[in-house]
Homo-oligomer: 181 residues x 2
Amino acid sequence: MSRVMIHATVTVDGFMADLDGGIDWGFGLPSAPEDGELVRRVCEEIGAVVGGANKTQTIEDGEIPYGGALQVPVYLMTHTEHEPVERDGPTFTFVVDDIRKAVRLAQQDAGDKWVSLLGGQIGRQCLALGLVDEIQLHVVPVVLGKGIPLLAGLESQLRLERLETEAHAAEVHLRYRVLAV
Amino acid sequence: MSRVMIHATVTVDGFMADLDGGIDWGFGLPSAPEDGELVRRVCEEIGAVVGGANKTQTIEDGEIPYGGALQVPVYLMTHTEHEPVERDGPTFTFVVDDIRKAVRLAQQDAGDKWVSLLGGQIGRQCLALGLVDEIQLHVVPVVLGKGIPLLAGLESQLRLERLETEAHAAEVHLRYRVLAV
């Protein structure tokens, strides 16, 4: 069965975005060919995406997970029913409140590829439910001070196993396995 | 002149300790000889330590920075005057409120070695004042969810330059230069 990862770019202090959701602090950093190669490698392994409710409000004219670079099914959590939307290729399916169901549907679509969880809230919910196999982080050399956290806010402690660590230019790429509590 | 670094062990979500100040989540993790060697190398370069006010309340019977392994002068921030204390070798000098003064005194003692800043509050204060040259982190594979943050809480954004990244067993060792704002 398809496995599930939290996949995110974070600051050294663990934020995914500033308080307004902005990520422009991540632009213009030194990058090496190996950085692009690694991100490409990770993305090629993704077969479906589950995103948080905040993305559903702007789906018609808002941001697309991975900037549209991934032509894979996207499941978005929502609080009200919404017809599926096809946009620039991928189908966006809306799932009302039931995160387990969203992950299960995404896993079916992903086959032997990975399901990528986007956003802190969705990631922490799935961690709490024991649905996450791995965490893959791209750490940018920025301290935001305040912002939207990726992992902070989780209700209970979690032990990880370090799998891979790689750095070439500005970013540090970290891959962890989530250990059973 | 002696240079100044923030030196800390942190979780993947950026905490130095749990909400009670406990750090026992960091015990029992896999370790390689290279991890100990790296920490020894960093510690050998430290010529003085500046610690936060919370440490002053327990100085007579409380914790000693670096567990007493470093025989270097320690400056501790406090809100009231306190005579210097000598304990197990190092002298603990108390500095009332003036963090710039504490860092300057520590730099004089450290000579051509580093001043190590301990604790989140002290580190963030010194970052805000532009007193910090480098940040050295040992990241343990734990997600705490909540706790005492090292860098989160800083008032303004900060750009870093990645200098070194090293990983052998559980920990990831990150060394960053603090760039001028």
